[in-house]
Amino acid sequence: MNIDRLATLALVCTLILTGCQHKDKRYVLRGQVLEKNPASSEITVKHEAIPGFMAAMTMPYEVKDAEALHEVQPGDLIEADVVTTNNQQEYWLENVRITDSRGRVVARPGIVHHLDIGERVPEFPLTNQDGKTFHLADFRGKAVLVSFIYTRCPMPNFCPRLSSQFAKVREDLSKIPEDYAKIQLLSISFDPKYDTSAVLRKYGLAYLDNDPAGFSHWEFAFTDPGDLRRLADAFGLEYFDQGDSISHTMVIVLIAPDGTIARYWGTRWTTQELEDALRQQAQAVVSTSSGAKGTAAK
């Protein structure tokens, strides 16, 4: 064997060995999701023993696929591939499948995809601060600004900020009667267990300077947990109950007078931007907006 052949053989062996060292290993995980942390892209799973990798336990796993992370929810039974590097220093989940109690893969029933601009908003019954049931379609002919809040939220940069700025938007636009007649604000709670009509009314009054007349242009509502999840999915909102609080992302949705999505905002927005976009939509309404009606007592 000459030197060249020996060198080639050594190189091939090295490549094979190196390749083996970095090859990922895959194991099947079966368990239940207990928590989801979108900030760290992790879910905490209480899982069965994973032969060859880990005993049965509860621990967090990273889910790199954003779509899968969005879809999976606390409480879901899942099956997934645990991918590890050879030294098991790094591990994460891939191919997360939601299953039923017998391990069969299921599609989430009734899930609505994140709506794009121009798509029509879904219709679910909502109950307002006065106990009246209404639908988003009742606001056809008006530009509607929707936010999601929960009244117990203690984070000043989330719900209190959202509601404070919605209060300013309503107050500012109330000074422009021709636009005010064509706009509607709506804050939907993602805590229907706690945020009853009475709780929402008290919460709303605090942001309306105790004047219930303001409810005519800013309603506070809740819906049942299933419809809430579908509505949140439609608007790309993430939330999950942590017992004494609710972790959530921030989404503001502008619905055009024809009932389609006009615009989304996340955490970066100014009150002026909201007002301008709302007025722009309101001004696009043809002169008569007789079809538009709020549900609050006028």
């Binding site: 009244t151 117990r152 203690p154 000043p156 209190p160 209060a167 706690y194 605090a206 004494d244």
Partner: protein
């Protein structure tokens, strides 16, 4: 010289005194612990609004320093422990209710800490 009766009486008296001292010291320790816990709970739950200027809020939450120095709270209600406890539990204005976040012990610790906040 101590009589036998005096000696017999001195034993239990010493014991009672020791119990009282230990009891007092334990109570003082519990009180300090509770106050310390109150400081942590205050930092986690109250400071984000009451110790920071946040122009994004409809109303700037009042400072809670020297809360009990005047006869009334910023809301005008009497400055009593019970009133402060009720405000924490039920919320006030844009302040959310903390009844689901904090236990009664947590709230008592916060009130205790508020008494020391200058």
């Amino acid at each position: 010289m101590m009589s036998l009766v005096q000696k017999l009486a001195a034993g239990p008296l010493l014991l009672v005194t020791l119990f009282l001292l230990v009891g007092c010291s334990s109570r003082a320790e519990n009180s300090a612990e509770s106050e310390q816990r109150g400081a942590i709970l205050f930092a986690m739950n109250c400071s984000p609004c009451h110790e920071a200027i946040n122009s994004q809020l409809k109303v700037q939450p009042p400072s809670l320093r020297r809360l009990f120095a005047s006869k009334s709270l910023p809301s005008g209600a009497p400055a009593t422990d019970e009133q402060v406890r009720r405000t924490i539990i039920e919320g006030k204005g844009i302040m959310p209710a903390f009844d689901q976040h904090l236990t009664r012990d947590d709230i008592n610790s916060i009130v205790k800490y508020l008494h020391t906040l200058s």
